[in-house]
Structures are given as structure tokens and as C-alpha cells.
Subunit: 342 residues, 2 copies
């Protein structure tokens, strides 16, 4: 089992991931290698900060998920919180604990995935902390900025606002089921799956935070409230409604549900249930005041934007069938504290 | 074993620790409970950010250290990185993973210790992430601010600069030895230990980041480089000298060494060795240009400031005996990646 000095590991990380002690363009003045990083905020901008953690056996399976996917996904997931505020991503910090046996090839592949995400999201690594531990534990802090007072919180939804969601819901949960049932070979390449199945696997392994959409909504002042769909649609809608002190009516027939695959049939999975309660879609769920709805496009680039319901004064969460009957929307979502990774 | 919902835990954390979604005084605009925190930097100030992680069995022993000490120390240790830049602490973020069995009384006591540190350092909790895990894993991000261009890095030491250190060195390492050898009862109160022994235990369990000193050095533009003594004096001096491209001569007789206790004798511990290589003192090690040395006081409040040597052009690290003979300073320090907690 090779041993690696902390300095050597820091050097490998610095080489692998976009990072700089003096990346003046992004306002970073001191980066990796000092006691702390120093950044000069862009004049008149506010800073947006989020932190997340990812543990083997809880958020990923180090024996089964490719390290490339783990590296990509942890940064994507964290950045999704910036997207949900409408912020422009800038920096991140990586706390990484791992066994010596993972500090070689596994780490290199992990860093490759993370570097690809960093380049795609235009983020720079500014620091972090390394430790040796029997299990892999990852913790990220991400930072972005935004025009003053323009961050979209969860608490701004008002009765009458239209409810929108980006993309499709349930794909990541379907991808997780495929991953767990079809095993490792199916995910090493896309050769054995295609179409809806490949999309679902990609949604699970390489989720796409909706950074461009979040910023566009802020620039056009269209969203009154916003959250990313990470715990599952029903749970995240409940978070948003609780924070805003409102309720919601969702039209079942309007929900952009993940497409059926051979596996949904074989495992008797219900795509609508996956869409309502499956987690990790990282789509944006947001509300638009009624007077602005006419300005909403049906797509942002290739990404569908679907109107799925309305905010209500009554604090209930209701599902409306196509015949117009209403039933309560049950709240079952990912609760990191209660549920183990299956 | 009680189960705790994530919302209930967040509410307990929010109540226990100074935190606010709208603490306008410190520039925080959105805090705990949204997708991300939003802060408005003070006009013309730069932001200083550091992240650290703390794992059971590596950085603390959940079976032996009091949760109050763990909560206090993790924030103290992170804040020490802000002190080492001369920054004013402002905010922090807490990623916490723990087993359900630790989510009751243990968590409450952990939060109490952390809250005391937050009040003492004038820091506000702005967010974080919770997870259930078989072991306790803690990750912190801390943020402060500073006047533009005034952060003191590790890389500014120049030949001829005087080397200073605050407080005494080796106390925390001695406290760790006492803690491990005397066991739990000795540390529950100060009844059984006093004097130097109590000081050493306190240094191990409740280290004091030198935040006031760091800020004072910046305000008076006295320090050309600075680092906090976390990995051990010899290792941290080597970090500073490498970053600055210089060497150092240290006068052995000038080093402020921790006092002897009954235990140092019993365990045949050498206080000078503890001072040179023991970690976690969280004192500040800094350099002062020769022309400024006359302006350096010998104390900052109750804290001794001791001149212990000089920066040299030659890149060696040397120890000078009182008779003037020089020998190389060996670099043995805490390397989180190589060494396990004893």
C-alpha cells in the first residue's frame, strides 16, 4: 500500500484541478498553500456560499461508483445550491479524507471528474484540507456571487404565483435503480444502454446543475422563489412552501415525468412516483408571479421549462388529476438523516 | 435509539449557536434554511476563507474527549487559520455527520462548546449540512474579512527578518500526553490538576486562536509573514520558510518552552522536543522586518511575544545553542496523512 505525503497530494490536486494562488481575473488573491484563501469580491456584488458533505455508503458507494463520477457529482451537487439562488459560481474548497489505498489511481480518477466539472461550471479550487481515514469522506464549500438583493430564496412564493420546473423529474432516481440492479458493467460505457436508459444513468452519475437557468431567471427578475430538486420533488416543494408560508396545487398531467425504460417495467417502478419522490434530479423548482408568466419561454436552450401548478393561500400540497379531483401530495423524499443508501 | 428528523436537528443547532438568517450587522442577508447563504461584504474589504475537517479517531476520540471540548476545539482550530492571516472572523458553516446515538445529549454538549467558541470569536453560523453516519465526521468552513492587500501570507519572510512566536510551545502536546495517560477523570474538571498541568490540558482541550494578535499585527503592519503553529513548530517553520524561499536560525535558549509537570518527568518527556515538534499549539509564528523590531512589544495583553531567531538567505533551518554552535533543526511534525492519533 503506497503512502503519500500531504505535500505530494496537494501538488497532485493543484495540478489536476483548475486552481491558482493568484487568479486575479476571478478576484482570488491567495489560494492553495497558505493558511487561508483571500478573495476580493467584485464591486457591489454579494457572495453566495453553500457547503455539502458526501460519505461512502451514504451518498455514493466507493466500491461501485466510478471515481470519475464521484468527483464530478459532488461538485455538481454543491453547485446546484448556487444555481438555486441564481448565483454565478466562482470558487470551491475541498476537504477530502481517504484511505492510503485510495490515494493513488482512485484519487487521480476522482480528480479528473472533479476537474471536468470545475471547468464546465467555471470554478476555481482555492483550498481545502486532507486527512487519512479508513473511509472516503468528502466535504465541499462552494462560493459564487450575485447582484445585491437579487438572490432568489425559498421564501418569496406568493398565492397565485405559477410553479415551474426545469427538465424532467425522476430520471436520477430511475438511474440509481438501474445502477443498483444492472451493476457495474452497464455504467462503464454507454454501449449497453441508450436512449431513455442512458439519460437516466447519466442523470444519476453526472447530474447537471442548472447554473445558466438560475442566472437567467435572476437577470430577468422572473422568479419569486426557487429551490433545487435534491431531496425529491415532494420534499423540496414542501420546503419551499413552508419557507414561504403558502401551499401548492400541482397538475399531475403536467409533471414532466422521466420516460419509461425496459427496467421501469421489469422492476414495476412507477415513473410518476419516481418523479414525485425520487431525489437528486438537481432541476430547478421555481415560482413566477402571474403577471410575469407571459414572459416565460417553454425552453431555456435545450432545457424544457414546464408550468406544473400554482401557489395557494391554503397551506396544503394538492395533486390535481386531469378530471379535476384533488388529493393530498404525500411527502416522501430523501432524508439523509433517516434513510440509508439502498 | 432515538431518531431525529433533519428539521428538528437544524432547529436545535439554530437555537444553540449564534446564527441568524438576517444578521444585518455582520452583512449576512440569508442564513440557515435556504439553499445557500448570502453575505454582503463590507465595502472595500477582502474575504478570507479556510476549511478544515475533524474525524473521530483521527483528530479527536469520541469515546474519550468531552463533546464540549470537541465542539469548542474544532471552531478554535479553524479560526486559527483566520488569525494566521490577520483577518477578523465573521461566519462559519458546519457539515456534521453522526450516528443517531450521538444526536441526543452528545450533540447538545457539542453544540454548547461550539456556541461558546462562536460567541468568544464573534462568529455567526450561516449554514451547513447534516448526515447520518456510523462515525462522527465534522467539516467546517470559516470566513473573515480584512483590509485590501493586508492579509499576511506565509511567503513574505525576507533574510534579516526577526522571528517571533506568541505564548509557549509544546503545551498542547503535553496536554495530549496527559489526557491519554491520566484518562477521563482528570479532564472532567480542574480539581485534580492545577498550575502547569492544568494549563497544558486546557491547551489541548480548549486551544485559544490568537485572533486579536493577528489583527493587531495587520493594523500595525508589523508582520512580513505569518503561520499558525498547528502541525508542530518545526513543520510550520519549514512551511513558512519554503513558501518564502528562505531559511531560519532559531536560538534554542529563547524558545518559550512549556513548563515541566510531574508527568513530563514520569513519562520522560522532553519539553524542548514537545515545543519543537508537538502540534496544535495554535500560537502565531511570524516574522518582523529588522527596522520594525523596535516597535514590537514583549507582550500582547497577557500573551508573551518572544523573539526566537532570524530569517536567513541560506535555506537551512538551524538551531543555535547558547554557546553559539549550530545544528540542523529536524522536521518532525504532525502529518495528518501519515500519522494516526496515538
Amino acid at each position: 500500500m503506497p503512502t503519500h505525503s500531504e505535500n505530494e497530494l496537494i501538488e497532485r490536486i493543484r495540478r489536476a484541478i483548475p486552481s491558482s494562488p493568484h487568479k486575479a481575473a476571478a478576484g482570488a488573491r491567495v489560494g492553495i498553500g497558505d493558511d487561508a484563501a483571500v478573495v476580493r469580491p467584485r464591486l457591489g456584488r454579494e457572495l453566495v456560499i453553500s457547503t455539502d458533505q458526501f460519505h461512502d455508503g451514504r451518498h455514493f458507494l466507493v466500491q461501485r461508483h466510478s471515481p470519475d463520477s464521484v468527483g464530478y457529482k459532488v461538485l455538481a451537487r454543491s453547485s446546484s445550491d448556487l444555481a438555486a439562488m441564481g448565483a454565478t459560481p466562482l470558487y470551491f474548497f475541498l476537504n477530502l479524507a481517504l484511505p492510503a489505498a485510495r490515494a493513488g489511481a482512485w484519487l487521480d480518477r476522482f480528480l479528473r471528474g472533479m476537474a471536468r466539472a470545475a471547468r464546465q461550471f467555471k470554478m476555481v479550487l482555492l483550498g481545502g484540507d486532507l486527512a487519512s481515514l479508513p473511509t472516503v469522506a468528502i466535504s465541499l464549500a462552494v462560493m459564487g456571487d450575485i447582484a445585491p438583493g437579487r438572490a432568489v430564496t425559498r421564501s418569496g412564493a406568493r398565492p397565485g404565483d405559477a410553479i415551474f420546473v426545469s427538465g424532467t423529474l425522476g430520471s436520477a432516481a430511475l438511474g440509481l435503480e438501474m445502477f443498483l440492479h444492472r451493476g457495474r458493467r452497464a455504467v462503464q460505457g454507454s454501449v449497453r444502454v441508450s436512449g431513455a436508459a442512458a439519460d437516466a444513468l447519466r442523470a444519476h452519475l453526472y447530474p447537471q446543475p442548472r447554473l445558466g437557468l438560475g442566472q437567467w431567471l435572476v437577470q430577468n427578475r422572473l422568479a419569486s422563489s426557487m429551490i433545487d430538486v435534491s431531496d425529491g420533488f415532494s420534499t423540496d416543494l414542501a420546503h419551499l412552501c413552508t419557507a414561504s408560508g403558502v401551499g401548492a396545487k400541482i397538475k399531475s398531467a403536467s409533471v414532466p415525468v422521466t420516460r419509461m425504460t425496459a427496467l421501469t417495467k421489469k422492476l414495476a417502478l412507477d415513473p410518476f412516483t419516481l418523479a414525485m419522490h425520487g431525489g437528486e434530479d438537481y432541476e430547478l423548482l421555481f415560482t413566477v408571479p402571474a403577471r410575469m408568466v407571459a414572459r416565460m419561454p417553454t425552453r431555456f436552450g435545450n432545457l424544457a421549462l414546464t408550468r406544473i401548478g400554482e401557489i395557494t393561500r391554503s397551506r396544503k400540497l394538492l395533486l390535481l388529476s386531469s378530471s379535476g379531483t384533488a388529493r393530498p401530495l404525500a411527502i416522501h423524499g430523501w432524508n439523509h438523516f433517516r434513510r440509508n443508501y439502498r
